[in-house]
C-alpha cells in the first residue's frame, strides 16, 4: 500500500500544470467554468494547442502520433485539465473512433483517418443511438444494403452530440436483419456531406442545442468505409464503449465543481452569515466531499490496476453510477447555493444584455444542473450499470 505518486508522476503533473498555465487562456477557462457553450473554434483551437505539444491523443500508441500514456498519466492529465477548467477533448475521434480503427481498421483506413483526427481535418460524431433504441442499443434499425461497391443507408440516429460541427459520422447499421440482433450489425464511416444526410438540432431543456438528430436517406457509402468485417460491428461497438469509459468517474470535474460550490457558498449570505456556515448546507457539502474522497480513491485503485495491466471489470460500472450521482449532487448544491438568482434563464438572458443578471457565479448553475441530468442517462444509463453490477455479483438468475 502506498498512496503517493512516484516522483516521475509528480514531475509529469508539474509539467501539465505549467502547460495549462501557459496555454489555457483565462477567457476560455472562464467559459468552461461557467458551463457556457463552446464554439467550434474554441474546440479546434484547444485541440490544435494540445496537438502541437503531442498531448492530444494521450491514449494512442506513439506509432499513430499518440502520447502513449499509462493509466496514471492519463488520469493526472485529465484531472489537471478538469481542475484548470480546460475544454474537454472532444472524444468522438480521439477516444472512440481512434482506438477502434487502430485495432480493427485496415492499413489504408489507419493511414487515412488517424492523422486527420489529430490535425483536426475531420470532426467526427457518433451514430449509435436511435429513437427506438436507448439502453437497448442492439435493437437499432438503421439499414445498410449492399449495392455494388456501396452501401445504401436508410435510418435515423439521435442524441448525436456536436453533430452540427461534424463532417464525418461513424455509424452502427444493420446489414443483416435475419439474425440475432447483435449479429447483423456493421460499423460504417459516413461522410456527412453525402447526399441524403440531414442534421437537425434537438433543443434541450436547458436551452442548449448540442445534440442532434441525423437522418439518413438513401445515403451511398463506399464499401471501403466499412470497418472490419460485415456483421461484426457489435464487437467493435462494445470495444469502443469500453474506451468511452475512460475518466468515467469524472473526479476532476467533481473536484472543480465542488470548489465552485464552495466559492458560491462563501459569498452568499444566508441568515446573516455566509451560506457555507449554515449547518444544513455544510452537512450536505461535507457528505458529498467525503463521498468524492472515497470515489477518487476507488478511481485510483482502478487506474493503478489498469496501469499494471489488469482490465477494469465491474468497477467501471460502479464508478459510472457513483461518479454521476456525485456530480449531480454537486450541481444540485450549486443551484441551491445561488438562491433566487438561479431563476433567470441563463442561455438567453446572457445574450440579451451586457449586464449580468445577479452574481456571475449564478449565471449557469441551473442550466448545468439541468444539462447534467444526462450524466446518469447516457453512456449506459445508471440502471444498465446496476444491472451489470448485480449480474456480476449474483450471476444470471431466473
Amino acid at each position: 500500500m502506498d498512496l503517493n505518486y512516484t516522483p516521475e508522476e509528480d514531475a509529469f503533473r508539474a509539467e501539465v500544470k505549467a502547460f495549462l498555465a501557459e496555454k489555457l487562456t483565462p477567457d476560455l477557462a472562464n467559459k468552461v467554468a461557467q458551463g457556457r457553450e463552446l464554439t467550434k473554434q474554441d474546440h479546434d483551437h484547444w485541440h490544435a494547442t494540445l496537438n502541437a505539444r503531442g498531448w492530444l491523443a494521450g491514449n494512442w500508441p506513439a506509432e499513430y502520433g499518440g502520447a502513449a500514456w499509462d493509466a496514471v498519466q492519463r488520469h493526472i492529465f485529465e484531472e489537471e485539465c478538469a481542475m484548470a477548467n480546460a475544454p474537454r477533448i472532444v472524444p468522438f475521434g480521439l477516444a472512440m473512433l481512434g482506438p477502434v480503427l487502430q485495432k480493427f481498421g485496415n492499413d489504408a483506413q489507419k493511414k487515412h483517418w488517424l492523422p486527420r483526427i489529430l490535425n483536426g481535418d475531420d470532426w467526427w460524431c457518433q451514430g449509435y443511438s436511435e429513437p427506438g433504441a436507448g439502453s437497448d442499443l442492439a435493437s437499432l434499425k438503421t439499414r445498410a444494403v449492399r449495392d455494388g461497391d456501396h452501401y445504401i443507408v436508410n435510418g435515423q440516429k439521435t442524441w448525436t452530440t456536436l453533430g452540427q460541427h461534424a463532417n464525418m459520422i461513424f455509424c452502427l447499421v444493420r446489414t443483416n436483419p435475419d439474425v440475432k440482433a447483435q449479429e447483423g450489425i456493421s460499423f460504417l464511416l459516413i461522410d456527412m456531406n453525402t447526399a441524403g444526410v440531414e442534421v437537425r438540432p434537438i433543443v434541450l431543456l436547458d436551452g442548449s442545442a448540442e445534440v442532434n438528430e441525423v437522418w439518413l436517406t438513401n445515403v451511398r457509402v463506399p464499401v471501403e468505409n466499412l470497418v472490419g468485417d460485415e456483421n461484426k460491428g457489435w464487437t467493435y461497438a462494445k470495444y469502443l464503449l469500453t474506451h468511452e469509459r475512460t475518466n468515467i468517474a469524472g473526479v476532476g470535474f467533481s473536484t472543480a465543481g465542488l470548489e465552485a460550490v464552495k466559492r458560491i457558498a462563501r459569498t452568499e449570505m444566508a441568515g446573516g452569515r455566509p451560506l457555507i456556515e449554515n449547518p444544513f448546507f455544510a452537512a450536505r457539502l461535507a457528505q458529498v466531499e467525503i463521498d468524492l474522497m472515497a470515489m477518487a480513491a476507488t478511481n485510483l485503485r482502478v487506474i493503478s490496476q489498469a496501469a499494471s495491466g489488469q482490465a477494469p471489470g465491474v468497477e467501471s460500472s460502479m464508478l459510472k453510477v457513483k461518479g454521476t450521482l456525485i456530480r449531480q449532487e454537486i450541481n444540485d448544491l450549486a443551484r441551491r447555493a445561488a438562491g433566487p438568482y438561479a431563476l433567470p434563464f441563463a442561455s438567453e438572458a446572457m445574450e440579451e444584455t451586457n449586464d449580468a443578471i445577479g452574481p456571475d457565479y449564478a449565471a449557469t448553475v441551473t442550466t448545468r444542473y439541468l444539462n447534467n441530468r444526462k450524466l446518469s442517462i447516457y453512456g449506459g444509463s445508471n440502471e444498465v450499470q446496476r444491472q451489470i453490477i448485480a449480474k456480476t455479483a449474483l450471476g444470471a438468475m431466473r
Partner: protein
C-alpha cells in the same frame, strides 16, 4: 372531518382542468414561453373569465373564495397544466397587498397586471432584508434601491415596491411601471415567464402612493407570502401529478429489450416510492391550506413544513421522472422538460428546502 372539495371548488377544478387540458398544450406553452411578452394575454383573459382570479378573493372584495383551500384548488390546476402566466404575482401577491377596491375589481376582471418588487440582490429569502430607501422630500417620496428577480415586472401596470422609511420599518408603495427613474432590466425565467431587475434611481412618487400604515408592511407581507407559499406548494403538487402521470404513460409505451420499460421491477418500485411521496405532498398541501387562516406561528409552521416537504419530494419526482424517461425528457418539445424545470425552480421561490426546515425547527421549539 371532511376531505372532499365543496361543490363550488369541485366545479372550478373540473372547469379549469378541462379548459387547460384542451388549450394549454406543450406546443402552445412553448410558444408562450418563447414570446417576447412571456405570457398569453388571451389565456389570461380566458382564465380570469373562468374565475381563476376571482377564486383568490373573498366576497367582500368581489371574489368568491380567498381561503387557503381556494388558493390550493386553483394553483394545483395551474400547476398540473404547467401554466406560466403570472397569477401568483398579480392575483395573489399584489391582490392581497392592495386595498384599492377599484384596482381589485380590475384584477379580478383580468384587466390589470401587477408585480411585487420586494426581494433585493442580497436578501436571498429573508423577508425583512430590505435596503431600498423611501425618503420624504417636499411632500413627495423618493425611492432609491434595487429589487431582484421581480416576476412579471415588465408586464405590470403597477409595481408594489417595498422600502424602508425613516426609522427601521418597511412600507410599500404603488408605483406605475413607467414612472421616471425606474429602470427594468428584463429577462426570461428558467421555468417560463419573465422577470426583471428593477433599479430605482430617485423615483419620485406622491405620498398617496403608500399602501397601508407607514412602517407596518412586514406583517402584511408575511401574511401574503404565507398565502403565496401555499399557492406554490399546491402548484408543485399539480406539477408532480403531471410529471408522474407522464412517466406512467411513458413506462407503458416505451419498449426496451422487447418489453415495456414499465415491466422492469426496479422502475416499478421507484414509481411506487414516487406515488407514496405524492400522497405525502397532497396531504401536506391540505394541511398548509387548512391552516392558512390560523395564528401566524401555527400557520407558518405548517407552511414551512409544506415547502420543505415539497422541496424534498419535488427534487425526487423531477429527477426520477427524467431518469425513468431517459433522453426524451430532456428535450424542450417534450412536456416533462418544462414541468420538471418548474418543479425545481419552485425551490428557489419564497424560501428553499433548507430555509423552511430551519424555520420549521424555530417555530417548533
Amino acid at each position: 372531518m371532511n376531505f372532499e372539495l365543496t361543490e363550488e371548488r369541485q366545479m372550478l377544478q373540473d372547469t379549469l382542468r378541462r379548459f387547460l387540458r384542451t388549450c394549454y398544450t406543450t406546443e402552445f406553452r412553448n410558444g408562450v414561453i418563447a414570446s417576447d411578452q412571456g405570457y398569453s394575454p388571451k389565456i389570461w383573459t380566458d382564465l380570469a373569465e373562468l374565475g381563476v382570479i376571482g377564486a383568490l378573493f373573498n366576497e367582500d372584495q368581489g371574489g368568491f373564495g380567498g381561503t387557503g383551500f381556494d388558493i390550493a384548488t386553483v394553483f394545483e390546476e395551474l400547476g398540473r397544466a404547467g401554466v406560466v402566466e403570472p397569477f401568483l404575482e398579480t392575483g395573489l401577491l399584489a391582490g392581497r397587498l392592495l386595498n384599492q377596491q377599484d384596482m381589485i375589481d380590475q384584477i379580478i376582471a383580468g384587466q390589470l397586471q401587477l408585480a411585487f418588487a420586494h426581494a433585493e440582490p442580497n436578501s436571498r429569502y429573508d423577508l425583512n432584508d430590505v435596503s431600498t430607501l423611501a425618503t420624504m422630500l417636499a411632500n413627495k417620496i423618493v425611492l432609491n434601491g434595487r429589487k431582484a428577480v421581480v416576476a412579471n415586472a415588465e408586464a405590470a401596470d403597477y409595481l408594489i415596491i417595498s422600502a424602508r422609511e425613516s426609522g427601521d420599518d418597511i412600507s410599500f408603495f404603488l408605483v406605475p411601471r413607467d414612472t421616471k427613474g425606474m429602470k427594468l432590466q428584463g429577462y426570461p425565467m428558467t421555468d417560463g415567464g419573465r422577470a426583471a431587475e428593477v433599479i430605482l434611481d430617485d423615483v419620485t412618487i406622491d405620498v398617496t402612493s403608500r399602501i397601508g400604515i407607514p412602517g407596518q408592511a412586514l406583517n402584511q407581507i408575511e401574511t401574503t407570502i404565507a398565502a403565496a407559499t401555499v399557492a406554490l406548494c399546491a402548484e408543485a403538487l399539480g406539477l408532480m401529478e403531471t410529471a408522474i402521470q407522464l412517466t406512467i404513460d411513458y413506462l407503458g409505451t416505451r419498449k426496451q429489450f422487447g418489453k415495456p420499460i414499465g415491466s422492469f421491477q426496479a422502475l416499478q418500485h421507484r414509481m411506487a416510492d414516487m406515488l407514496i411521496e405524492l400522497e405525502q405532498v397532497r396531504s401536506i398541501v391540505i394541511l398548509a391550506a387548512g391552516h392558512l387562516e390560523t395564528a401566524p406561528n401555527i400557520r407558518d409552521r405548517y407552511v414551512s413544513a409544506a415547502k420543505n416537504l415539497i422541496g424534498r419530494v419535488g427534487r425526487l419526482v423531477a429527477e426520477e421522472s427524467i431518469q425513468m424517461h431517459g433522453g426524451i425528457a430532456m428535450t424542450e418539445e417534450y412536456e416533462l422538460a418544462h414541468i420538471a424545470k418548474r418543479i425545481i425552480m419552485i425551490d428557489h421561490k419564497l424560501g428553499d428546502t433548507d430555509y423552511h426546515l430551519e424555520r420549521f425547527i424555530a417555530l417548533s421549539a
